[in-house]
């Protein structure tokens, strides 16, 4: 074989974010969802229904509802956005639209940011409804500001979107994509301190839970629950969740390849 020169993509690929392409992508994702009202309804109603259920499961112990309810307000957006994003991006990969987009002048960052923006918007609506319901109608006793609960919920949703984008690269089918939910989310759910305080766990598990982002999401929620002010721990937790989301979004961008086999 006499291969002379090797043609590769020039290193000057437009990596800078284009605001109009990002917003066009976010609008497109939301428009797709608008043609699927059942998904929107499920997305928004399920967390509310679960909270109502939980409230009456712990009918006799409102303190337990306070702590678990607040934790769940952080966990719901993470799980739902993870599922929705991993399926949506997998469809984008398998339908050929991703290949088409990447042969067009669309930066990978534009696509990722577009998805994050669209699902972040949905997460705000979902979290606002769930938080409002929990605080005003189900008697969730929050010492701090409900706005801070909402902030953590939004960061969690972004983390879920980021994780979903990332794992969709490793799923060849919808079956596999759905299986990533127990694989990626369940260990975090068990170790995040929802069932038992993290300090009571086996030291090895406690150490593992220290590096899982959902632990900080739940810690952050509990800080708001117990303290009137924004504590230093809360700020740390929020920054860690945001940082993880950003890191995983970048990893997700790295899995988008313009050239594929």
């Amino acid at each position: 074989m006499n291969t002379t020169t090797i043609t590769t993509t020039a290193p000057t690929a437009p990596s800078a974010l284009s605001v109009s392409r990002t917003t066009a992508t976010a609008a497109r994702v939301l428009r797709q969802l608008r043609h699927d009202p059942r998904t929107i309804a499920l997305l928004i109603l399920i967390p509310c229904v679960m909270l109502v259920l939980l409230r009456y499961v712990f009918d006799g112990s409102p303190r337990t509802f306070d702590s678990i309810g607040a934790s769940l307000l952080g966990i719901f957006p993470l799980i739902t956005m993870f599922l929705v994003t991993s399926i949506a991006t997998l469809r984008e990969r398998t339908s050929g639209t991703l290949e088409r987009l990447l042969s067009m002048p669309l930066g990978k960052g534009d696509l990722i940011a577009g998805y994050a923006l669209a699902f972040g918007f949905l997460a705000v609506i979902q979290s606002a409804l769930a938080t409002g319901l929990a605080v005003w109608f189900l008697g969730l006793d929050v010492t701090g500001s409900p706005w801070l609960l909402l902030l953590v919920a939004l960061l969690d949703a972004l983390l879920g979107t980021a994780l979903g984008l990332f794992v969709s690269a490793f799923a060849a089918s919808e079956y596999q994509a759905v299986q990533f939910m127990p694989a990626v989310i369940f260990p975090q759910l068990l170790l995040c301190g929802l069932f038992t305080p993290r300090s009571d766990m086996h030291p090895v598990l406690e150490a593992v839970s220290d590096v899982l982002p959902m632990s900080y999401a739940v810690d952050g929620m509990n800080e708001v629950l117990k303290h009137t002010d924004m504590t230093a721990t809360f700020v740390r937790d929020a920054l860690i969740v945001a940082g993880c989301a950003l890191l995983v979004l970048c990893l997700g961008a790295a899995t988008l390849r313009r050239r594929t086999a």
Partner: protein, 269 residues
């Protein structure tokens, strides 16, 4: 917004500009298979070049290499004067994949609006709308603009996919089997459109097909088989050279010839 390529110094003078696509020793490996085996060819500008051959011969891989979405490409491959996959080519090439790549849960117009915004967000909404209307008319889907792409028939969906590639003013259109599954009337209309695009807009079209009668409508033909180019010529020249009446007969003649030479090599070895 037309970007005409300036000829590199030392190239042929204006009437004979750089070819739209120029390949030398182009090789593509996919997994354990070598799909393209060091092929050489050129695609001249402003003409329709047909890429023909049986399925699995490497047509789609060749097209993906040209638009820059194929990995593991070695050899030389220049497209519109730039190495294939160069970022500046992304607005200058229209590409249609074999399976229609559009969003099933958007209407035809919403699909086109989105891709038009990605292609050139700088244009005003009115200019973009005009562009979308134009391509809808081109592919004869103006009456279906507000239908969900997922509710359209297979042929209609592939025309939506084609319409996306026609947005803007691509200098090179790479169309992977754009007429598969279409009825004879539509196929004729699309070929009229392709000729119109080549003639009036001066665009280059590379169209793959495994239907040989479409070959007669092309200005030039690239006949492929098992990752190699059997012939790179005009339909007339091919028929004359092989002494056949149709391109199909010419292709079969060339395949037999290739098999015979391969066998001869085997025995002399």
């Amino acid at each position: 917004m037309m970007n005409y390529v300036v000829d590199p110094p030392g190239a042929a003078p204006a009437p004979n500009p750089t070819p739209a696509v120029q390949a030398e020793a182009l090789t593509v490996v996919r997994g354990p298979r070598t799909v393209l085996r060091g092929i050489d060819f050129t695609v001249p500008r402003g003409q329709i070049t047909g890429l023909l051959g049986p399925s699995g011969c490497g047509k789609s891989t060749l097209m993906r290499s040209i638009v820059g979405t194929q990995a593991k490409v070695t050899g030389t491959l220049n497209v519109l004067g730039r190495p294939a996959g160069h970022p500046s080519l992304r607005t200058r090439i229209g590409y249609v994949t074999q399976a229609p790549s559009v969003y099933d849960d958007l209407t035809v117009r919403q699909n086109l609006d989105y891709f038009a915004a990605i292609l050139d967000p700088g244009r005003t909404a009115a200019t973009r709308r005009h562009d979308v209307d134009r391509v809808l008319t081109d592919v004869d889907l103006a009456t279906h603009a507000d239908a969900l792409a997922g509710n359209l028939s297979g042929g209609q969906r592939s025309r939506v996919s084609l319409a996306v590639a026609l947005l803007g003013t691509p200098e090179l259109l790479v169309l992977d089997e754009p007429t598969v599954g279409l009825d004879p009337v539509l196929r004729r209309d699309l070929w009229t459109l392709f000729h119109d695009i080549a003639a009036s807009r001066g665009a280059t079209l590379l169209i793959s097909s495994h239907v040989m009668d479409e070959a007669e409508r092309c200005h030039r033909l690239l006949l492929m088989r098992e990752g190699e180019v059997l012939a790179d010529d005009t339909p007339d020249a091919l028929r004359t050279r092989t002494g056949s009446d149709t391109v199909e007969a010419a292709f079969l003649h060339l395949v037999d010839e290739a098999v015979a030479t391969a066998r001869q090599k085997e025995t002399t070895r």
